[in-house]
């Protein structure tokens, strides 16, 4: 049985705290910046590549994973945005064997995961291309189904994420977005492959946001 060591929870928590506090220490004057007015609310969509942090997850669902995300956000100031999002991931895989006697035995699996995300981004240098740091919490609904056997597992689990990236202003309302995110979702007991399943990992995504008001 192989277990994947997980990152200590202290480090992400520290980064998240720093990111949440940053907006309160920032001001437009410090950033010097563009005075282009921007909408207070925006919607967005993103898609990207997900790299699961846990070896067991990669063994079972080994092919590239492409989650998609829809966002709704609010810019309370020029240097800060708050967003809510829903991210969806569906993929397929197959079982792995312990004490293999007949390697040809495989059962098809389907993985579905929907994650509600609530986060905050900080834009320290507002400009045409503005980098950001962000953090947030998540709540995931997941279901793993054996397609060839009467077996399925499902659950719900909270987690958190930290992210960084940048956006490029395409017009008064539109921005292109690139971000990299690290998430942790500890889902508890697993099979013989890992004692504790973590659904988090690294997510690299590209997106587009549009201001609406």
């Amino acid at each position: 049985m192989k277990t994947i060591d997980m990152m200590s929870p202290k480090a992400p928590a520290f980064f998240a705290a720093v990111l949440l506090l940053l907006p309160f220490f920032s001001s437009p004057a410090l950033a010097g910046m563009e005075k282009v007015p921007q909408p207070r609310f925006f919607i967005g969509a993103a898609a990207g590549y997900f790299y699961p942090r846990q070896d067991a997850f990669r063994k079972i669902y080994g092919k590239p994973l492409w989650p998609v995300e829809l966002q709704l956000g609010w810019n309370p100031s020029r240097k800060m945005s708050v967003f809510g999002a829903v991210r969806y991931l569906e993929t397929s895989g197959s079982t792995v064997l312990l004490a293999a006697q007949r390697p040809e035995e495989k059962y098809a699996l389907r993985w579905r995961q929907a994650t509600l995300r609530l986060g905050m981004n900080f834009w320290p240098l507002p400009s045409r291309f503005a980098p950001f740091l962000g953090a947030g919490v998540s709540y995931s609904f997941y279901r793993e189904q054996w397609l060839d056997a009467p077996l399925a597992s499902e659950g719900r689990q909270a987690g958190f994420f930290v992210q960084t990236g940048g956006r490029y202003r395409l017009g008064r309302r539109f921005h292109a977005l690139v971000q990299i995110e690290y998430s942790a979702i500890s889902a508890g007991g697993g099979s013989g492959l890992s004692r504790s399943v973590n659904l988090g990992g690294l997510n690299l995504s590209l997106g587009l946001t549009a201001g609406i008001f």
Partner: protein, 544 residues
Amino acid sequence: MPVRKRIVFYLLVFLLSTAFLPVAAAPAEPSALVKIASPAPAVSRLGGVVVQELHSCLLVCAPLPALPRLRAAGVDFAVLAYPREGVHFFLLRSPLVLPLLSQGADIECRLLEDRIWLLWTADPGFRRYLAQPFRLKALALSGPLAPAAGEIPPAPAPEYEEYRSRPRAARALAKLTAQVSQERLRSDILTLQNFKTRYASTAQCEAAGDFILRRFRQIGLDAESDPFSFESYYQSKNIVAVIPGEIAPERMVLACAHYDSTSNNPLVSAPGADDNASGTAAILELARILAKEKFDFSIGLLCVSAEEWGLYGSAHYARQARRDGAEIIAVVNLDMIAYPGDRQRVLDVIGNRKSEWLADRFIAAAQPLVGLRLAKVIDPSLTWSDHSSFWDQGYAALCGIEDSDNPYYHRSSDTLATLDLPFAVEAVQASLAAVADLARPLNTPAAPTGLQARSQISMSLFSSLKTVYLNWQANREQGIGYHVYRADQSHGPALRLTAQPLAQTSFKDSFLSPAQEYFYVLTAVDEQGRESNYSQEVRDDENN
């Protein structure tokens, strides 16, 4: 009546009585009855017929011209008698030094070996000169149907190692033996005892036969009476019932007992509770229980008469069976099974050398199910009951008999009150198990061998399943399928996994809990749906 008519009448009576003399009483050509020390050479090739095998010698009837051939072949023999018309020969077993009450009687006796005499006489009333207790066996000196020793094809002698791993068969036999009822045995013994006497040739004996016939028919069996005559003047009848076999009804396992009795006052009082109402009640109990079951082979249930006169009823039946070519696989004779005495509770299982396999098999099937001890006795000189008649015809036969000296033997005091019914119940259970076992499993397929199990666990993120792969060697028989059974604990209750017998010799058991150990056994099933015993058990990862 005028003198001339009287002469004609007596002449007619004489001629008729001569005509009714048993054909087998004496050989057709002049011959001699000789005693040959055993082991004997193949006397049949030299013209002799083995009349009786004893412990230390053979009784051989040889035509007079054959005697020089015997001597020339180096056979050491002693001539005992020259049979002639009207003279009957018997083996006599008597514990007394002088078995005759009166030396003046027209009876000749020669001691053959310990307590066994050859007796011959022309006097039909010779029994009144014999001192009780005694047992008689009438000898057929020239039975053309009686095969000589060494010419009998060996009876099937299955490997009895097989029986050590037969949980299913053992359970089935245990279920049967649990049905033996002490109350029914008691009731039947009492009914038979209440005929006052069952001495063959009496009306009460015939009534007892009618009672047995009715009982068989009440049970629902196809039963009939088979009349026969003996010693020229007397008649009695055997009662026969058959439970037809399902697969090979022409082959038969025969359970028998004599229902006649005797005593020191046989015409008036011979209750014969132990000898042999006990054996007869056992046959009725076997009939009651076995009639509800199905067997590969037929089971014959035979109650014979005139045993006490010299095994006449069984000799009649066995001769006819041989003449008709009946395939009797085995004969289980029960005679005196309810008086264990003060000694250890032992039921002797007596066989001759050719029936030793049967004694072994009887004990292997029955001993695990009963508390009394079954003791194998191989002694061809123990000819004092009806199994001996079947030995004479070349059939495998044994006798189940108490290993004790019943002080009420052949006395008017042999009554139900002297019997140990719990012992009788166990003796009946042993016989029931052996008869059922002989009748059923001979044709069932052999249990599969070479069972191997390998298991592996398939895992997803959150759950896992165990899969077990089984394979085994194919049976040698044709048309065999296999059933797979699984248990959660070793030798625990097994669940059959296969709805239909598998044609292939492998099986995959999927979707199992990885946390649980599983144990597997197999059975083989033939085209008639008969199932073998379990194979050896394997754990799911035994061969990983």
